[in-house]
Symmetry: C2
Subunit: 279 residues, 2 copies
């Protein structure tokens, strides 16, 4: 599969990538300086600056917001916990609307404390998304279920394959789709078919990139820069685009011992270079 | 699903569980002392004692060998590498036969050095198993493909789901099946259907148990003792046995900071207790 060289206007920076170095304002300014026109912030980064001020910063710099990270974390051990999760998700929805985000990304949550019942957690996730959709639909905010790598099934997200996420979408109808993150799905033997399925259904709301390092030394915070690992990112982008996706490529790298320790302007320059040459 | 309490005669100890404390002889003697009647050794443990002597030790103690770990590691970057892998697998096969193992466990291998082509690695795996089967079939030694958790897709095994392993079995025919390891498959949204499918096809050759800890601090060497993590092991065993499996439950725990540092007799005593109460 041959793919074109992606232009800079297809690049978005998930602000987790520079979260140790910069707050939202500095990150937006840094992206603007580098010629990058899109970002995806995290809610704590927005909260640190304030929602209205964050929206102003984004608007003043003409930044597109490819997603707000994150809603989700639906399962809970008690009815009160479920209610609190729903209320927090309504707030996340409001923030996504205020920021003009393309979608609200959902990291759906894992097992409630003390539970070994992953099927029950998965039911809570689906119930939670259905309930959130009642508000997100009228608000016109797409919900992007992000299937997470199976190594996060217990503690972060019990939706672990694209097929599983798309099954949920099929049952819930309009207003919900998927965020396809290379790091989470690259290993899936059924990937090709499920990306095509997602595209046919018009469900691909976001495409995230980084790389899988060998060895990986930390389950959460050792993601690689594109080109430094083993994911065939050009092929993967080819599949996503062949499925009809025309959106941006959002770089999201958690890297406590490497990229989080570097000069953030250098990180962005590397993202630009690797997006062009290795993604 | 209600399951019975498993009796001690259903317990097997994969000798990786005590590999830091004991060699093969001490481990077999330790298991015998504890009233355990089955083990699964690793090839390096056998090599350290010698194959003939290992077989004698096993026989003298009346130990059943529920599997030899491991054949596999099929993909290679060069024809010479593929040939070397095949020859090494023929040796593993001979060792499994000599030890009277129930099966030769296959950890199939990941990406060859420098490769990002997981589909190609998967083709090499299937070719390699097919070739090994030409010798294993006549030798009467079942080959057990062990799908490994997706976090090992790059460097240990590019067969990552039970469905994928069973698809390979379907294409290869008789003499090959699967080792179902709770640690590797517990997260799978399609687990129930695939276990039933494996059972219908008579493909369940081994069942391995341990637990998934939260948090997990190391990708390879932080497996938990049954009951200490989040896997619903009783339900999982129920599914495997409902699918027709009547074999043993093999405890396999890699745990560099906990169980590998303890008195191995205590480790075995804990395995017995947790096998009974939490598996």
């Amino acid at each position: 599969m041959t793919v074109d060289t992606p232009t800079l206007d297809r690049l978005s920076i998930n602000l987790a990538t520079v979260r140790q170095q910069w707050g939202l304002r500095e990150a937006v300014e840094g992206c603007a300086r580098a010629g990058i026109g899109a970002i995806a912030p995290w809610r704590d980064q927005v909260a640190a600056v304030g929602l209205a001020e964050s929206a102003r910063i984004v608007r003043d710099h003409g930044m597109r917001v490819t997603g707000l990270c994150r809603g989700g974390m639906f399962p809970a051990a008690t009815p009160e916990g479920l209610k609190a999760a729903h209320e927090d998700n309504l707030k996340a929805l409001e923030e996504a609307v205020t920021l003009g985000a393309d979608c609200l990304v959902l990291v759906v949550g894992g097992l409630p404390d003390g539970s070994k019942d992953i099927r029950d957690a998965r039911r809570m996730v689906e119930d939670g998304i259905a309930r959130l959709l009642e508000a997100a639909g009228p608000a016109g905010m797409p919900l992007a279920i992000e299937p997470l790598h199976p190594m996060y099934a217990a503690d972060r997200a019990c939706v672990n394959t694209l097929a599983q996420a798309l099954d949920i979408c099929d049952r819930l109808g309009d207003g919900v789709g998927v965020a396809i993150d290379a790091y989470h799905v690259w290993w899936d033997p059924d990937l090709e078919a499920q990306i095509a399925r997602a595209g046919r259904a018009g469900r691909i709301l976001a495409y995230h990139i980084c790389d899988w390092l060998v060895p990986t030394t930390d389950l959460l915070l050792d993601r690689g820069m594109m080109g430094d690992g083993v994911i065939d990112l050009k092929r993967l982008r080819g599949l996503v685009e062949a499925a009809g996706y025309t959106g941006l490529h959002e770089v999201e790298i958690f890297s406590k011992d490497n990229w989080w320790r570097r000069d953030p302007d250098e990180v962005l320059a590397t993202c630009i270079e690797r997006h062009r040459d290795a993604s």
